[in-house]
Amino acid sequence: MQCPKCRGNMRTYERNGVHIEQCDNCRGIFLDYGELETLTRMESQYHAAPPPPAPGPAWGAPHGGHYGGHHHRQRSWVGMLFST
């Protein structure tokens, strides 16, 4: 396929199910019908999707518990991991 703007050679890429033709010469991009909408939808999903809450029981610690905190150095935590 030739670039409609500068007649350069266009190369086809596939990214996440979207076909993209890019001109080797002017770097211009050509999208197939409907692919702009696909990209827009993917972008909004990327921005809108909240991180899925870690599943757990109703009584679980609120998100952002103590893990990763300084308790990992605490003797009682390591002791608990390794004992009855």
Partner: protein, 284 residues
């Protein structure tokens, strides 16, 4: 001759050479390593007949490659104690819990739970629920914290009929040793029970905000990917985990209270998060 000297003699009889080294463990249990042999004097409280059945089960081919097999398939009597003899293995390093073999532990539990009971000698009930009840009983005080922990344990929801499968009964990272591969150890609570109890301690740590969610996901994911049968199929894993994780939370909180009291100190931050977890349980 003292118990430790007798145990060192037993270790030598099974090929253990060199200086005997006593391993720190529960106060009612003595574990002594001599070279490549480990000898364990079990708690006086443990029922010897149950121990005998459990030891036979781990000596059987059905759990080979899942649980460490004993060097001696019979329970010995030494200085009035029930004694078992084991090959030594390398325990999990305690310096970096995130780097511990969580996946391997989960896969071993999945394989253990999948062992058909028909391939094993008769077994007693798994010891998890009784162990939890004992931990609660050991709390002597009756302050608000003790009352809260007791309430969390007493008000466990009713459960639907549960699977009765081969269950370790007391799983934590100290129950793994490496020989040519990772293996489960400790037969004391092995038996027929609800296998979700084996996942309940990490579940309780996770629900208390102590265990990194990424580590919990690794553990749970490896269990499910190995076809572990404890949690049903394709449903919310917490449907089966909820009750045993509540029980383990109360058990861990009770142990923490007893430890702090024995050492005449306040609960630390880690221990306190288990009490907070009990508080959320009674309000859930």
């Amino acid at each position: 001759m003292g118990l430790e000297a007798e145990l060192a003699g037993v270790a030598a009889a099974y090929g253990g050479a060199g200086e005997p080294v006593s391993h720190p463990t529960r106060t009612d249990v003595v574990v002594l390593r001599r070279g490549e042999v480990v000898v364990k004097a079990h708690s006086l409280r443990d029922d010897v007949e149950s121990l005998r059945l459990r030891l036979r089960a781990v000596a059987s081919a059905a759990v080979s490659g899942v649980m460490l097999a004993p060097l001696e398939p019979e329970v010995l009597a030494v200085a009035g104690r029930a004694v078992t003899v084991w090959p030594a293995g390398r325990p999990v390093a305690q310096d970096d819990p995130g780097a511990a073999p969580w996946e391997e532990g989960a896969r071993l539990l999945a394989r253990l739970h999948a062992v058909p009971l028909t391939l094993l000698p008769e077994l007693p009930a798994a010891g998890g629920p009784a162990r939890a009840a004992r931990a609660l009983d050991r709390m002597s005080g009756d302050g608000p914290v003790e009352q809260l922990i007791r309430r969390a344990f007493k008000e466990l929801p009713e459960t639907e009929p549960l699977p009765a499968l081969l269950t370790h009964g007391d799983w934590h990272l100290g129950q793994l040793v490496h020989r040519d591969r990772w293996l489960l150890i400790d037969v004391d609570d092995l038996g027929v029970g609800d296998p979700a109890w084996d996942l309940a301690r990490p579940a309780a740590w996770y629900a208390a905000g102590l265990l990194d969610p990424a580590v919990w996901e690794r553990f749970l994911g490896a269990y499910l990917a190995s076809g572990g049968p404890a949690l049903g199929s394709g449903e919310d894993p917490w449907r089966r985990l909820d009750v045993p994780a509540r029980a383990l939370t109360a058990q861990l909180a009770a142990v923490a209270v007893v430890n702090a009291e024995r050492e005449s100190r306040e609960l630390d931050e880690v221990e306190h998060s288990l009490v907070e977890s009990c508080n959320r349980i009674v309000r859930a």
